[in-house]
Every structure is written in structure tokens, then in C-alpha cells.
């Protein structure tokens, strides 16, 4: 029995069902929209006024007689007249959505539903293309953009342009995506177009069409205000954030914007574009709608442009090493020595030592270098290393090296000294070394990455067991380090 064939058939069958469901839902949405339009129309005409005969028991808008119990209408806050609103709630099925929202709140958990869906998707691999709320299809078309002289660059900097390309709205859809449209509701579509300019004067534009179809009940028919935010994962700094404008009152936003990055070619190969769609709520409240990760590596060598719909899924955890994984791991080279406290020989500035000096040991941390730090190469930055030693009984000591103008090669060899330690305290200490970027003219510095050493794990243990000699370490740097003791 050919199982793979069976699964393909199954998938096809389920897709057909979903397609029928989508058609039905589109029709239903259309009906509800018209219902609501009717109510709007009646309201616009403003039925009850002074010129007309006033009756307590007729609807102020449509003049329909109101019942005593059934369809008795609700009192309008504006004019205190009674109006019938009940009918609409019944006919549109809003009553059910409201009731359901009591158990599954729409505003706060709206995306959770989709996350559940996405989880369902990822867990059942053979249905990756077909569950109710999330559909994806890949189309590809090549789009050669004019050969622009302006795009020629002498250096090896490539420009990555991210922005939506083609309009993909309601009736005036593009021919090559018509098949998709037939398959998927045009409810919510996102398009990203990425292009890069090559040194050889041709500019190829690469389109990623991102489509999200959303359960009609999740956000209701409420006005959506949506925008797309993208990050380049090689550089997790705020600087890599790009946002589109907010598109209001549309379930089918099209963003004709170019979002640009300037990154080096080798960096591009290992980086990932993280694109997320957000609802911009009132009072700066933002609601996450969906996210997708687009690996950019393939584009470096690929000559043809591809366009594809990407499924928007749940939030994915930021990979610890981010985009730095493929371009080489960020590392910090350190030498550690535990010795007796001697005369002060401060090679670096030490501040913030808040250890009571009742021990006579000194832990010397010599920072010999770092490589592959997640920073942009062409910007000079002030990198320094902050060491935080957490001892037993919750005591902490923080020592920083002085900022030095460095590039990605990392800081100069510097020493961090922790004085006045006792062996007992060191027994279960945790040493966290963080690489910081001192930003000029700002009060807050930015932590780039860090590494952690535990006394009860092998690394630091050997230092403690064999004092008075240097121990070399090459520590992998990760984005978020937990400085708490375990």
C-alpha cells in the first residue's frame, strides 16, 4: 500500500472540503455585510424625528412595531428612543461569537487560536497546507526590474529591499495568482517583495507573497488596523526593525513600501527575515496577529526570483544564536584564574564591587577576545564586557571593563577582577559575562550577548579546583543569558 499516495489523496480531499467551507463562509460574510449595510442605511435615513408620529413601541430607526417581550428593542444612549438591534445580532450570528468570547476572549486570545492552529499544523506534518485558518501556497514568478545605474555599488554591500509588490485585492487580482485566489479567501493577504541589487547592474526583485486567512470569528468584522514589522535576524538591534504604515479599515491590506537594509553579502546568507503582522489597537495596544520567518540564505546564489505565500504562524522563539549560527558562532575567549588577593594592579576600571571583603581569594577574568559579535561591521562601536559574579546567599558582584572602540573583532584583552572571595562562597557561584555596546549620547547601553559559567558545571569547577593557574575558555555567546543561580 502506498501510504504517501494515500496521504496526498487525503490532503486533496480535505483541501476540497476547506475550499467549499471557504466559499460558504464568503457567502455568509457577504450576507452579514449586507445586513449591516441595511441597518446603516436605515440609521442614515434617521427614521424617528419630531415630524413623525412618536410611539414608544416602534423602532426609532425602522418604525417597525416593537413587541412587549420578543424583539422589544434596546434603548439608544444617544436619544433614549427604543431601537431594534436584537434582530441583527441573531441574524449575523454575533450572539454566538459574543457568547463564545466569554470562554475564548477574542481580543486577548485571538492570536492564541491561530497559534493553536499553527501548532496543530506543525504537529501534523502532512496537513501543513490545509487547516482552516491558515493556508499557504507557493507561486513563483520572475520579475526583472529595470537595470538601474544607481544600483551599482563599488563595495560589497547589497541592498535588501523589502516591500510589497503587487496589488492583490478583491476583484482586480493578478492573473498568476488567480488560482490561489480561487483556493483561498482574499480575506487577508500580505505581500512582501524583497529585492537586492547586485553589482552586475541587474536588479532582481523577489516577491514573497504572504497570505493569511483568518477565521472570521476571531477578530470579528471589526475594523482592522494592521501593519507589518520586520526584523533581520543577523542584527537583533532595534536598528534592524522596519515597519510599514498602518493600513486601516481593511481586511486586505496592501503595503506598497520599500523597507531597506544594507548588509554585507556574507551576513545575508545566514540571516533570517522575521516578518510579523500586528494589529494596532487603541492606546498603543498592539495585538500580535501572526509571524513568519523567511530564510534569506537561498537568495544569495539564486538567480530567479520566487514569489511565495508564507503562512503566518505563532510566535517562534528567537533562536538563541539568531542568524549568527550560520555565519559562525559568536564566541568570547577568556582566561580564568583563581588566586590569592594581592596588591591592587588594576588594569581596568572596576566599579560597583559590592562584596564584603571577608575572603582572600581573587578571581581574575582575562578577556582575550571575541569573534563574530552580532554587530554591524561598518559601524564602530564601544564594546565592553560586564562580568557579574553571583555568589551563594544572593550576593552579586558586577565588574565592567572600560569601553573600547572596536569593531566586530571584539574588545581588547582586559582583566576583570573579583576580590575578597571565600572558597565557601565560590562553591556554587555563577559567572555571567555579557558583551555590551556603549551607545553614544544615550543613557542606556545595549547588551549584545553573553555567556554563563556555573561552578557546579565542569568549566568553572576546574578553575576552582586548580587555583593559581590560567584556564582557557572559548565561550559561546548567546543572546539572552540567565544570570540567576540555578
Amino acid at each position: 500500500m502506498d501510504l504517501s499516495l494515500l496521504q496526498a489523496l487525503e490532503r486533496q480531499k480535505i483541501l476540497q472540503v476547506l475550499q467549499r467551507d471557504r466559499m460558504l463562509r464568503t457567502i455568509e460574510e457577504d450576507r452579514i455585510r449586507r445586513l449591516k449595510q441595511d441597518v446603516q442605511e436605515i440609521r442614515r435615513r434617521g427614521a424617528k424625528s419630531f415630524s413623525r408620529q412618536y410611539s414608544e413601541r416602534t423602532c426609532a430607526r425602522c418604525q417597525r412595531p416593537l413587541g412587549k417581550l420578543w424583539n422589544s428593542g434596546a434603548v439608544c444612549h444617544g436619544c433614549s428612543h427604543r431601537i431594534c438591534g436584537r434582530d441583527l445580532r441573531v441574524r449575523s450570528g454575533d450572539w454566538f461569537l459574543e457568547e463564545r468570547a466569554k470562554k475564548f476572549p477574542v481580543n486577548t486570545d485571538g492570536h492564541d487560536t491561530r497559534e493553536t492552529m499553527a501548532d496543530t499544523l506543525s504537529h501534523s506534518t502532512f496537513f501543513t497546507k490545509s487547516v482552516e485558518d491558515l493556508m499557504v501556497s507557493f507561486t513563483s514568478h520572475i520579475k526583472k526590474i529595470s537595470k538601474s545605474q544607481n544600483d551599482v555599488r563599488g563595495n560589497d554591500v547589497r541592498r535588501l529591499t523589502v516591500g510589497p509588490a503587487n496589488c492583490y485585492t478583491g476583484q482586480k487580482s493578478l492573473s498568476d495568482t488567480d488560482i490561489d485566489r480561487a483556493l483561498h479567501s482574499p480575506e487577508q493577504n500580505y505581500q512582501f517583495c524583497t529585492g537586492d541589487c547586485e553589482q552586475n547592474k541587474t536588479r532582481e526583485e523577489r516577491d514573497i507573497l504572504i497570505q493569511r486567512t483568518c477565521h472570521s470569528g476571531l477578530l470579528g468584522a471589526a475594523a482592522r488596523r494592521e501593519y507589518v514589522k520586520i526584523y533581520l535576524e543577523t542584527d537583533k538591534a532595534q536598528a534592524s526593525k522596519r515597519k510599514t504604515a498602518v493600513k486601516r479599515n481593511t481586511t486586505n491590506p496592501v503595503y506598497n513600501e520599500d523597507l531597506q537594509y544594507q548588509i554585507e553579502r556574507p551576513l545575508l546568507s545566514g540571516s533570517t527575515l522575521r516578518a510579523s503582522v500586528w494589529h494596532s489597537g487603541s492606546l498603543k495596544r498592539k495585538l500580535f496577529l501572526g509571524e513568519t520567518l523567511i530564510p534569506l540564505g537561498a537568495w544569495c546564489c539564486e538567480e530567479t526570483a520566487t514569489a511565495a505565500w508564507y503562512p503566518l504562524g505563532s510566535k517562534r522563539p528567537v533562536s538563541p544564536e539568531g542568524g549568527a549560527v550560520e555565519q559562525g558562532k559568536a564566541e568570547l575567549r577568556v582566561r580564568l584564574k583563581l588566586g590569592p588577593t594581592c596588591a591592587t594592579s588594576n588594569i581596568c576600571q572596576t566599579h560597583g564591587v559590592d562584596i564584603e571583603s571577608h575572603g582572600n581569594h581573587r578571581l581574575t577574568v582575562l578577556i582575550s577576545g571575541a569573534k563574530n559579535l552580532p554587530i554591524r561591521a561598518n559601524t564602530s562601536q564601544n564594546i565592553y564586557v560586564k562580568g557579574c559574579l553571583t555568589l551563594s546567599r544572593g550576593k552579586r558582584a558586577v565588574v565592567s571593563s572600560s569601553p573600547t572602540q572596536r569593531d566586530a573583532a571584539g574588545p581588547d584583552p582586559q582583566e576583570l577582577l573579583f576580590d575578597g572571595l571565600s572558597r565557601a562562597e565560590l562553591a556554587d557561584c555563577v559567572l555571567v559575562l555579557e558583551v555590551w555596546d556603549h551607545v553614544h549620547l544615550t543613557l542606556t547601553d545595549r547588551a549584545l550577548c553573553g555567556a554563563r559559567l556555573d561552578a557546579n558545571k565542569l568549566g568553572l569547577l576546574t578553575v576552582l579546583q586548580k587555583p593559581n593557574q590560567w584556564h582557557d575558555f572559548s565561550l559561546p555567546l548567546i543572546a539572552n543569558v540567565d544570570s540567576r543561580r540555578t
Partner: protein, 219 residues
């Protein structure tokens, strides 16, 4: 024949001339007769051959009930465990459920409790459920007595029917009863916010314009 039904189904689903739309889900163990039950109701047809449902399927039927035209989207789910992740995704959209077991199959009856738990987990709080013992035409092979089922349905708070898709017993009644109790639930839900009934003064928001500012009133 096939094309005739297809056209019929097409017409049913694209019809907008109705008052409300209800979504109903049929669940239960594999081979209890969920698909047959739906086919009997929607198409008035029956085939004794067993064809396992792939994932999910649905049929649309418009009925006239309580002076209203009600369009039913009835989802038929696969009973097999391996489709569970897909089928449970549809629980949330359903207003009512038909939980089915086979009166000649002890296992399918024993699983009822589990299915009820699934509904509780994945559906809204007021989910309306009917317990249906299918294949009541096969009296000779019965292993689940009506009393036992009634006891269980009382315990779970569901209404109970014995039915036969093959002999067309209680099929229509089951669906109509389910529609009725969903309607009741709907009225309850509306009354809870309706001032004229609950007596709350000026309490409710107008649902068509929940946040409409004062000056927008066109009355």
C-alpha cells in the same frame, strides 16, 4: 445522479435567503454511522457500505423552523484517532453537537464520556449536545440498553435519542430538536443583555454601534 446532487448542494450553500446559520458538528467513535446519519438527513439516502471519512466533511441544509429559515452547516468528522487534531479544531465554531454511539458497539458507548470531555475542552460553554444511539434497527445485536444510555445522558445533561440512519428513524427529529435547543440558547443569550426583559435600566449597549458616540445618533 452525482452531478445532480452536486448542483443541489451548490445551490444550497450559495443560497442567502435565510435568517440564521447554525453550525453543527457530529462526533463519535469510528463506524458508529455519523456519515450515514448526515446523508440520511441531508440527501435522504443510505448506503450500507462503510467508507471511512477523511478528516472532515460537511453538508448544508436549509430548514424552516419557528417561522425562520435556518441554514445548517453540518460538519461530519472522522472518528479515527489520527484525525483528532483536525477535527478538534472545528469544535470552537460549532453551536451544537450530535454525539453519536452505536447501540451494537459497547466501546463506542464507553467512549461517550471522553467525547463529552472533548466538547467541554474545545467548545464554548453553552454548547448544546444531543446524545444519539444509532443503528436502533439492529435490535438483535443491541448491547447498550436504552436505560443505560438515558442514565448517562441525564448524568451528562444531554438530551437523548435512539435513531437509525438506515430505517430513517428519529433522524430529522434529532436535528430539529438540536436546532430548537440552540434557538433557546440564543434567546437566553440575547435576553441576558436585553433591558426590556431583564429590567435593567438603560444597561445595554447597542450591538450595531457598541461604541457609537452620542452625536452619531440618527434617531
Amino acid at each position: 445522479m452525482a452531478s445532480a446532487t452536486a448542483t443541489y448542494g451548490q445551490k444550497e450553500s450559495s443560497d442567502q435567503n435565510f435568517d440564521y446559520m447554525f453550525k453543527i458538528l457530529i462526533i463519535g467513535n469510528s463506524s458508529v454511522g455519523k456519515t450515514s446519519f448526515l446523508f440520511r438527513y441531508a440527501d435522504d439516502s443510505f448506503t450500507p457500505a462503510f467508507v471511512s471519512t477523511v478528516g472532515i466533511d460537511f453538508k448544508v441544509k436549509t430548514i424552516y423552523r419557528n417561522d425562520k429559515r435556518i441554514k445548517l452547516q453540518i460538519w461530519d468528522t472522522a472518528g479515527q484517532e489520527r484525525y483528532r487534531t483536525i477535527t478538534t479544531a472545528y469544535y470552537r465554531g460549532a453551536m451544537g453537537f450530535i454525539l453519536m454511539y452505536d447501540i451494537t458497539n459497547e466501546d463506542s458507548f464507553n467512549a461517550v464520556q471522553d467525547w463529552a470531555t472533548q466538547i467541554k475542552t474545545y467548545s464554548w460553554d453553552n454548547a448544546q449536545v444531543l446524545l444519539v444511539g444509532n443503528k436502533c434497527d439492529m435490535e438483535d445485536e443491541r448491547v447498550v440498553s436504552g436505560d443505560r444510555a438515558r442514565q448517562l445522558s441525564d448524568h451528562l445533561g444531554f438530551e437523548f435519542f435512539e435513531a437509525s440512519a438506515k430505517d430513517n428513524i428519529n433522524v430529522k427529529q434529532t436535528f430539529e430538536r438540536l436546532v430548537d435547543i440552540i434557538c433557546e440558547k440564543m434567546s437566553d443569550s440575547l435576553d441576558n443583555v436585553d433591558p426590556a426583559v431583564t429590567g435593567v435600566k438603560q444597561g445595554p449597549q447597542l450591538t450595531e454601534q457598541p461604541t457609537a458616540p452620542r452625536q452619531d445618533c440618527a434617531c
